[in-house]
Amino acid sequence: MSDAKCGMRLQNVRKDFGKVPIIHGVDLEISEGDFVVFVGPSGCGKSTLLRMIAGLEEVTDGSIEIGGREVTDLDPSLRGIAMVFQSYALYPHMSVRDNLGFGLSMANVPKDEIARHVAEAARILKLDALLDRRPGQLSGGQRQRVAIGRAIVRKPEVFLFDEPLSNLDAELRVSMRIEIARLHKELGNTMIYVTHDQTEAMTLADKIVVLREGRIEQVGSPREVYENPDNTFVAGFIGSPRMNLLNGTIAGKTIDIAGSTILAHAHSLEGHSAVIVGLRPEHLEVVTAEPCTLAATVDFSEYLGGIGYLYCQLADGQTVTVEQREGEDYKAGDRISLSWRPEKLRLFSADGARIRP
């Protein structure tokens, strides 16, 4: 029933640990060759979902297809996947060469063929000089490259990455991130990547899947989830510093936030008595006087060189973060007015769902 282009299809996939449901019926379709990133706060089930795709966790209900093949109850080694673990999980008693070739030797591939595949993976990842070392003699970045190499050698349809960079230091993380992006371009396989790091998610993904408490909150390109969030959770989770989410009440055709009256622009407020107004820090501007403004008091300011942040408070105690590219310095206690371009305003209903214009 699936076309050749289908990289992977999850249908109503559920997972219970005992009586506790962890994944509540996930439906997801991934096209072949996509780089998909699962993001979400810790405990949202993103790793569990990945492990279910890998076959390391049993699926309580639902089905998983990889490349048009039903694999729900298949052994991990037969699913056409390869996985890179956060902790590398190299075989410490084997040389790098044996680590890379282990999967093939388990599949009874002839020795000369294994050697060829290992050499190719080593070339791609620049591991040639390290083939005879043990994992204990490698640095963190080299170990992670071996772990990725072990995945490449298996020539899988789908690569699974479980927070592969979180054990590395900041500098190495950036270079490995670029290396993974390059690898995706070079190999063209479907890749699923779990992370809680937004930068990794935004830079690597073709498609971001935002998860919360075992449910998919939104699926979309990085631009979509950033600019067009479906709900307050996605709006608050994607983006750093996070989007300002301000509680307001409806007063006729306008919204009242802590005594300031703002316009709803194109949004219809019918049927709502309270809304949540979403404004990203970089869309807020300090102005002297304009009709549509929010009055705030500066709590403290941070100067980071290129940009600065003003942490402000509204009259009712709600906090607002403002990103400043240029302009004058403000001190704690300064009273300011904030404005924004109408199209940057995002409205959500009181229960968090997006109200689209």
Partner: protein, 288 residues
């Protein structure tokens, strides 16, 4: 000024080293003395065997009389050594196999009453085995295994297992789960997974279990005495008691020392061979 400080430091260091190594030498002398004493005494000639123990070394040249005398006890020292080796090696092999499988199961699988069963296995350590010798004897008799080295081996394995299963479970617990999962994705399953991936990682635990099983089986006396009844089936500890009991009230001290050496050497060999597998940092580079 500076050189004075340096000289003082060097003196201090020299003093520290001297104390350190001196203490080590004295301690090792106390540990080695009995062995050296027994070894030298076993090389005395028959004529010297009954002379006072000091000095311990042979005065009229080295002789193997004591070992020849030892061979006249029981069914000959070779026979008894072979018995002991058979029983000990069998105990080691069976204990290692069973405890690896049990330890792996207790560490990785989820099944009902797992913890209760584990506690029960450990709890059997509290039962002095002398107290169950009679039932053991009856069970072996029913199985047709009384007076056989195989029966004795099985009893030793049973007694050795609680500790060994405990050791192996801890060894498997220390292996990161991700390594096993990586191996499963690589297509290693069941026995292949255990032999190719996990066994090398729990080797230090296996060596510990093997050494303990060997030493305990090698030195065990009471069960061997009670469960075996044929002269030519006795193990070395039983032979040694016969030697110590003496003949017609006369104890041949030379033969006794020779027996001590015969019993000690295999233990030393086993320990020296296996101890290098207690490699530190075996797991280095696996995770993190």
């Amino acid at each position: 000024m500076n050189t004075a400080i340096k000289a003082r430091r060097a003196r201090k260091k020299l003093f520290g080293n001297t104390v350190f190594h001196g203490f080590g030498l004295i301690a090792s002398f106390f540990f080695l003395a009995p062995f050296i004493w027994a070894g030298l005494a076993s090389l005395r000639s028959n004529a010297e065997a009954q002379s006072p123990p000091l000095p311990p070394w042979p005065k009229n040249g080295i002789s193997v009389d004591a070992y020849l005398t030892l061979d006249t006890f029981g069914a000959g020292v070779w026979q008894h050594t072979m018995n002991s080796l058979l029983v000990s090696a069998g105990t080691v092999v069976l204990t290692v196999i069973v405890s690896i499988l049990a330890g792996y199961g207790f560490s990785r699988y989820r099944f009902p009453f797992k913890n209760l069963m584990f506690v029960l296995i450990i709890a059997t350590l509290m039962i002095p085995f002398q107290s169950i010798l009679t039932p053991l004897f009856i069970i072996l008799a029913k199985l047709g295994l009384n007076n056989s080295l195989l029966g004795l081996t099985l009893v030793y394995v049973t007694l050795q297992l609680p500790f060994s299963v405990f050791m192996m479970r801890n060894a498997f617990d220390a292996v990161p789960r991700e390594i096993e999962e990586a191996a499963r994705i690589d297509g290693a399953r069941d026995l292949k997974l255990l032999v190719r991936v996990l066994f090398p990682l729990v080797l230090p635990g296996v060596v510990t279990v093997a050494i303990f099983a060997f030493l305990n089986a090698w030195n065990e006396f009471l069960a061997a005495l009670i469960l075996l009844s044929d002269n030519e089936k006795y193990t070395l500890p039983v032979l040694m008691t016969a030697v110590r009991a003496g003949r017609l009230g006369a104890i041949n001290w030379g033969a006794l020392q020779a027996g001590v050496m015969v019993m000690t050497i295999p233990c030393l060999v086993v320990f020296l061979l296996l101890q290098r597998y207690y490699m530190r940092g075996l797991m280095a580079g696996a995770v993190k």
